[in-house]
Symmetry: C2
Subunit: 316 residues, 2 copies
Amino acid sequence: MPVTQPTDPADSAAALWDALLPARVRVVEVGPRDGLQNLEAFVPTETKVALVDGLVGLGFDRIEAVAFVHPLAVPQMRDAEDVMRAVRRHAVRFMALVPNRRGTERAVACGVDMLNFVISASESFNRANLNQSITESLAALAQSMPPAREAGIAMRMTLSTSFGCPYEGEVDPGRVVAIARRGVEIGCGEICLGDTTGMANPRQVYHLFRELAHVLPTGTERAVHLHNTRGSGAANLMAALQAGVTTFDASIGGLGGCPYAPGATGNVSTEDMVAMLHGMRIDTGVDLPRLIAAARAAEGMLGVHLPGQIIRARGM
Amino acid sequence: MPVTQPTDPADSAAALWDALLPARVRVVEVGPRDGLQNLEAFVPTETKVALVDGLVGLGFDRIEAVAFVHPLAVPQMRDAEDVMRAVRRHAVRFMALVPNRRGTERAVACGVDMLNFVISASESFNRANLNQSITESLAALAQSMPPAREAGIAMRMTLSTSFGCPYEGEVDPGRVVAIARRGVEIGCGEICLGDTTGMANPRQVYHLFRELAHVLPTGTERAVHLHNTRGSGAANLMAALQAGVTTFDASIGGLGGCPYAPGATGNVSTEDMVAMLHGMRIDTGVDLPRLIAAARAAEGMLGVHLPGQIIRARGM
């Protein structure tokens, strides 16, 4: 029989590789917002609340439960106030997406714990989604800061389509960095880069986050929001972690994407990513068995087939 | 408007990260073998041949078209000779899975270009799959070398369940390394580590391949065979590349897995991985647009829903 061989203790490259990875990361569950907002049929308020309540207490750093956007722009989110009033506020921070001062005021009135202001890094995408230029969106961010500051609520800036735009293709990394800097000047303490349509690759993710680390003031938190549309979400997360990112968004069961293209996933699946990180001995604070149970429950609750892998793996 | 910021040219960490990645990798398409062998219904020989012919000329280093195993053990592969006789042998090497001397002789008679001898790193899994101890399987490998050598056909050893076993759980990395060394002593020029049930994590993949690099003789090729059962296949591929692996198996459309668990995928999807690598400017030699077309054609040909992501992404 073969015998056990000892590991080479002198492998300095391997020690360096280990040192690239963080000991602990923060998980932001965005399924109730980013996952649901792409569903065609309106999800009843009580179902949304049940979905969120099932995620409370699992150990997330934050849950993004709702978006305070115009009800005609995103009808799915028209009950944002009702959802926020009803959810169990316990042991987790609630983040809410806002696109302008009006949304910020609504979110503040609901007592959210953190605001997430979204601007696209691509002019065409920003125009298509918000009917604004990037300059106008940055002005809207500046106008949203006073009510946020007055309420003492931290503001994150998410830069969507940071790694590619379905209209423009490649996005200039210099532009992403410049908008991020402007966001910090305006008052955002956290900058999240979003791969909105899953076009990123790990090399791009690594380098853009390294560049952000050099350019942004010390203490600015960097976060990543990845989609798995082209099957590289897990690799992109690895690259972001290696670039020093320690906060990432994910969606329970991979909820999201286009309902008309089965298998074309949205966000990376929270439980798949948490399981991978735990396997690597990276702490997330999340209770994995309960998270997997919550993902399976979400499928039943919403009546959809979720693209997450672990929920279908045998023996899990 | 924000202006473009220059990249920091003095980022030595980023240069080191880039240096971890290879400029070129070899892709081994294993869909016709690993993908098909899990399908319950027998796929007609002409369909298998059409599937393989659609993969010829796309730029793969190799195609694993068949397994020369006992027809009662794997009825799906009972027409291996017929398939090998009929496929278009052009501009690609054909690899065949073999479990013993009898299989090796059948493969040699068909004029395959490379042999792939599979042994499990877990006693329980080897026993369940081959009804042999690992020691017996290593003896079978030794008995298979003379006909291979006589025909001048190179032998790869694939160590399945190298990163985890559904029966035993964790697999001792020292045992994996020891069996790999024995395989090289017997005459295998390439050692492939297989994550048969998708249990690997990137840290484990990186370290096990680093260890192999230290222990195996210079010139021994290392390859990786990954499954995406738990959604970490792409991240595991990244880790393998960073550990210096430059040959990987993949399956068109992610063909494989359990037909009774939709979404529980088999091998990593060839086109998703090739697209990710091309995005990172890593050359594969594979024609991506034709590969995506072949994956879509495979779905129709086989009448199955494939878990690959890119084939469902819009605009691809």
